[in-house]
């Protein structure tokens, strides 16, 4: 209950402190706006020995969230109430109970923005600082502290912050301090660059964490600093940007308490014009796990984020069977993307044109030579910047999108994967998975309000659990209703007893800002990833209800 009292007092103080001047209380209140959203997920679990779904003692588990944001002129404040009674299976077990773990107040005045309480922030591409919420993963590393943003000159934006990171319903031990400067050169030097076609942005960041050294085994650095520099140049349809980050000795459970410095480099370049886009990305990450508690693991208390250079697949088999998890301890990755639209009337475009997207990504370990200095300097290893080690992941995929008629359209995909289970899932000794995936997704509009969509997917591999297939049929009665059935079938499993069907049926209702979904079925065990950040999901079976609403 104490959170509710805190909220009420907090809100009143904010309103009276910042908004009341000569105007009446009523005037002030009329200017205020409240926005928010609500989400509730609940599942009734049943034991299902065929898929390894264990009995759940509570039978029903639920997650609930309510965001409330109040704005009044230059003042804003907000809270998020969270409820885990108890958390859905697969969520970190630290989420248990109810409470307000996100509340903030913010005020803007004369180019200075001030936030106290919780906030999310990202410096550059996130190589040394990114706090964010990804609810599907149970990921929330929000900072609780103070943040200042100041536009000191035209085009010069400074950010300074300090805070502690959220850890479920508590805070991590460490304190995070950070500073970022971003300069939009075309604004800062507007006279000199006003006719320039090039748009140039440069930036630099410093982030330091403090955690007391209470180890009897090692002398640990209590303050660990990291720095980064970045630049982005856009010239017409062409863009190139990059960021380099460096982190001083940060022994932690992630790197087996070695004292090697860390570094990361991210480069991206793109060219786009109507009907054509080309993107190439590269990164190298070496010992860049950066947490505000050196003893933590999983996704807890990460200060930084290393962007994934692999495609975020959405189709069932590609997204759930072999998704890639970014390896913060060491990774060299490349990705290329080509998007092209065949014009109507062209040989391949036909009467209605056709889109093609070709994507190739690869992630390898860095090439390391062990130093065997565990009992001396504990530098761990050395690595040649330009050498590449073992393959972690490869994904070549092509997607064709084609409208056949005014009523029918289809998306057709092929993907070829190489997946290192040993590293990505932490399953030593398991062979790499080589898989081919074929997907057809066809939608047919029966009428203005009625449409039918079907998916057929197959994944072919000789490793792991063998071949899989998925079929899905979805009927939509616009704009409110949909109903779908799906079956994922592990038909190629060498063990015939494990050739399991993962069936699922769902029905949903949408009405403006409200959406209600009810489904029944099975979910296979595996890993679930968003942006290269993953969590392990156990097998489950039962009835699932989801309600979302925004206002």
């Amino acid at each position: 209950m104490k959170y509710h009292y805190q909220l009420a007092i907090f809100g009143l103080l904010c309103i009276f402190s910042f908004s009341l001047k000569a105007q009446s209380f009523q005037d002030v209140m009329e200017r205020g706006k409240i926005r928010g959203n609500f989400q509730f997920e609940s599942q009734y679990y049943q034991k299902d020995t065929d898929i390894g779904a264990e009995d759940v003692a509570e039978k029903i588990l639920s997650n609930g969230y309510l965001n409330l944001n109040y704005t009044n002129g230059s003042f804003s404040a907000g809270v998020r109430y969270e409820s885990y009674l108890n958390a859905l299976l697969g969520y970190p077990t630290g989420y248990k109970g109810n409470g307000i773990m996100y509340r903030y107040a913010s005020y803007d005045k004369d180019k200075l923005s001030l936030t106290v309480g919780n906030f999310y922030e990202q410096f550059g591409s996130g190589l040394i600082l990114r706090t964010y919420e990804e609810r599907g993963l149970g990921y929330d590393n929000a900072l609780d502290g103070v943040r200042l943003k100041y536009n000191i000159y035209d085009g010069v934006r400074l950010t300074a912050l300090t805070g502690k990171q959220r850890l479920f319903f508590d805070y991590g031990e460490g304190i995070v301090r950070g500073f970022d400067a971003e300069i939009y050169l075309n604004e800062t030097f507007s006279a000199a660059l006003k006719d320039s076609k090039a748009r140039i942005i440069i930036g630099g960041s410093a982030v330091s964490k403090y955690q007391a050294d209470e180890s009897s085994r090692f002398v640990l650095p209590e303050n660990v600093a990291s720095f980064s520099g970045r630049a982005s140049v856009t010239y017409g349809k062409f863009n190139v940007n990059g960021e380099y980050a460096y982190k001083y000795n940060d022994p932690s459970a992630d790197n087996n308490f070695i004292y090697k410095n860390g570094e990361a480099l991210l480069l991206q370049t793109s060219y786009s014009q109507k009907g054509f886009g080309l993107l190439f990305s590269a990164k190298r990450v070496d010992n860049m796990s950066f947490r505000s508690d050196r003893g933590e693991g999983q996704q807890n208390l990460l200060i930084n984020y290393v962007p994934a250079l692999t495609k975020q697949h959405t189709y069932n088999l590609l997204a759930t069977l072999y998704p890639y998890a970014t390896q913060l301890n060491g990774e060299v990755a490349f990705q290329g993307d080509l998007i092209y639209k065949f014009d109507k009337g062209s040989f391949l475009g036909g009467e209605r044109g056709m889109d093609i997207q070709i994507n190739y990504s690869t992630a390898n370990n860095i090439d390391t030579t062990m130093l065997n200095d565990d009992n001396t300097k504990r530098q761990g290893y050395k690595s040649d910047f330009f050498s590449i080690g073992e393959v972690y992941y490869k994904d070549f995929n092509v997607q064709l999108s084609k409208r056949f008629s005014s009523k029918a359209k289809g998306d057709f995909s092929y993907a070829n994967l190489v997946y290192n289970q040993d590293i990505i899932e932490g399953k030593p000794g398991n062979p790499k998975v080589y898989a081919d995936v074929f997907i057809a997704d066809v939608t047919y509009n029966l009428s203005m309000r009625n449409s039918l969509r079907g998916e057929a997917q197959v994944l072919l591999t000789e490793q792991d659990k063998g071949n899989w297939g998925t079929v899905l049929l979805e009927y939509t009665y616009a704009p409110h209703w949909f109903i779908a059935i799906q079956d994922q079938y592990n038909y190629g499993n060498e063990d015939k007893d494990k050739r399991t069907h993962y069936y699922n049926a769902s029905v949903g209702y949408n009405n403006q800002g409200n959406r209600i979904t009810l489904s029944y079925g099975r979910q296979k065990a595996g890993i679930f990833c968003v942006g290269g950040v993953c969590r392990v999901v156990p097998a489950s079976s039962g009835l699932y209800l989801s309600v979302t609403s925004s206002f």
Partner: protein, 314 residues
Amino acid sequence: MKKQLILPLLFIVALSACDKVDDPFPEKKDISFSLDETTEYIVDADLNINDTTALKKLFTDHQWDTIAAPDNSTKRFIVVEEFTGHKCLNCPRGTWEIVRLDNIHQEQLIPVAIHAGTFAEPRPPKYSHDHRVGGDGGAGDTYLNTFGVTAYPSAMVSRTRQAELLSDAQWDQRINSIKNDIPKVKIDLKNYIVKDTNSSAANILRIQIDIEWLDNLTKEHQLQVFLTEDNIIDWQDSAGVDLEFYNHRHMLRKVVNGNFGLELEAAEIGKKASYQYITTVDNKWKAKDMESVVFIFEKSPSYEIIQGNAAHLR
């Protein structure tokens, strides 16, 4: 202060918020025992001797050879700490000067060659051995930085005149200027080492130090214990020529009791104190060419060594 300065200042603060750790391991604390009223026994933590019973057993389980250092009750023994390195092309010149002076002053001169700094870094394939105590950032580098060594060869003669670093041409004169000083303290030194060289305890060394103050002194003092090894044959750059079989002399091998030693009680004439350091000798070192070097020096900022002594191990 202008408000524009506030955030850049925060940036500077963030830049400085970093601890660089060169040695990941906490310094092991030697364990101290009192078996009798006169001697404090200080045992290397690596020996895992945790009680007096185990300590007594160590003494009684083995036969011990003993070698005593010369009497220095009437002479001030002089410690010459020379900074050197195997890639220092002028350093052989320093070694030859030390050898010459050692021949003149005999037991009164105690040379210690400290390999430290850039010239002492391993450089394979020839100069692959690391002769620095504690390696990079170890005791040798600590002394190098503390005393501000900028040129090689250079040496401190009993750290006189606030640990003044002298070139090889100056050592002779400085030694002569202090060799007739009346000693302020006497150091009796005796090494005990297991007689049986095939024993598993053959690498255990007991260094018995008995001091007696010969004057009343107002300054505070530290007791320092080193191990040195003589006649190490290895590569040396000599005036640009790589010498494979160069004889490295009096090399500092181990700092037994911390980089700046043990704090002593106030110096009062006639007052005595006894310590026995029990430590280990690396099996790769030649015990017959080794010495324990003990000296007493004034605390910072003087660092002056007022008395020293040395004794062979075997």
